[in-house]
């Protein structure tokens, strides 16, 4: 009995030492930091899989209506500023680069670089939302927001001279446009919140090469939001642009 008890204490002591020496962030139900990291990352991936199905339903709705109202969607899409959309794509791609550099900086204990990259990522996220706001403002002024004051009269269908888009069908396009880009913008706002928290933690020096899991999985989230935009851009802005 006594032997057993002292043996247990000895094991615990050894365990405690290992903690103090190596990694205070290692939780007790994980065998090693690598396993803990993998578990956190896997959890994020499973969440992103649900997010993919979430956006997937909207993409599916888009594809169905695009088939049904082909020309009307082309006409409606043409009214959106593709240059602003393209600029926003470039902004998000740049923010993905700063995120991946931030993760690398956390891995290699470069605190200054980590803080700077997290800060630039947030700035780029704000630029994206700012451009988005300009775009929405234009749509409001043009009465392209679905609802009582919606107006889309005498807009020619691309490739079919003399034919005009059905305003009711165009309204369907703008409904999908606002829901999809709106939901994406909401994800950007959530991402900005996550990165603000990461930024504060990084300034406080909480992240080490041994433990920077939040930077990694926060980065995964940001990249996913980038990927959603990579598909939204051609589907909403670039259809039937050619003369």
């Amino acid at each position: 009995m006594l032997d057993n008890a002292s043996a247990t204490i000895a094991v615990h002591d050894h365990h405690g030492e290992a903690h103090a020496a190596h990694n205070p962030a290692l939780l007790h139900h994980f065998a090693e930091p690598e396993q803990q990291r993998n578990a956190a990352s896997l959890g994020m991936w499973v969440f992103l899989a649900t997010e993919l199905m979430f956006f997937g339903g909207l993409f599916c709705a888009y594809l169905i209506y695009r088939r049904w109202y082909f020309g009307d969607f082309g006409a409606a899409s043409k009214s959106i500023d593709a240059f602003l959309g393209g600029t926003n794509t470039a902004v998000l791609i740049c923010s993905s680069l700063t995120v991946v550099i931030a993760v690398w900086a956390a891995q290699t204990a470069r605190k200054g670089l980590l803080v700077a990259m997290l800060g630039i990522t947030m700035l780029l996220g704000l630029v994206f939302l700012g451009i988005k706001a300009v775009e929405y403002k234009n749509k409001f002024e043009e009465h392209h927001v679905p609802g009582a004051s919606f107006s889309f009269e005498n807009v020619p269908i691309p490739g079919h001279p003399g034919q005009f888009a059905n305003p009711r069908h165009a309204q369907m396009f703008f409904s999908l446009y606002f829901v999809m880009t709106g939901l994406h913008a909401l994800h950007m706002i959530v991402g900005l919140g996550i990165f603000a928290w990461l930024f504060i933690m990084a300034v406080k020096g909480r992240f080490t090469p041994e433990w920077h899991t939040p930077v990694e999985i926060g980065g995964l989230y940001w990249h996913f939001v980038d990927i959603v935009w990579i598909y939204l851009f051609p589907l909403l802005y670039l259809i039937d642009r050619h003369p």
Binding site: R37, L63, W104, E216, H223, P234, L238, H242
Partner: protein
């Protein structure tokens, strides 16, 4: 998720390479949209988008270097179920009006 692998050699060059490729293809997809390609306009746009998304997933999200096979399984399963959703729905709608 593979911190030990990355710390040996700096991956920054690869990150900048991927970033530059993504920007170039964004420019290409933007320009290609203004050229008349018939039904291939959509194919080009979606092909480029898929190529870009693959680059982001493999290199920015570290799936290519992931030591954990479960991550790859989740990614493939997620894409599979998305394809199931889109594929079955669209094959239904595409064949519905046959008389």
């Amino acid at each position: 998720m593979s911190a030990p692998d990355h710390s040996k050699k700096s991956p920054l060059k690869m990150y900048f390479g991927v970033w530059f490729t993504l920007l170039v293809f964004t420019f290409i997809t933007y320009k290609a949209a203004f050229i008349e390609l018939g039904r291939f306009n959509a194919a080009v746009a979606l092909g480029i988008a898929t190529f870009k998304a693959t680059l982001v997933t493999l290199f920015f999200m570290h799936v290519y270097h992931a030591s954990e096979k479960l991550t790859k399984l989740v990614v493939i399963a997620a894409i599979f179920f998305l394809m199931l959703l889109l594929g079955l729905t669209m094959s239904d709608y595409a064949t519905r009006l046959w008389t």
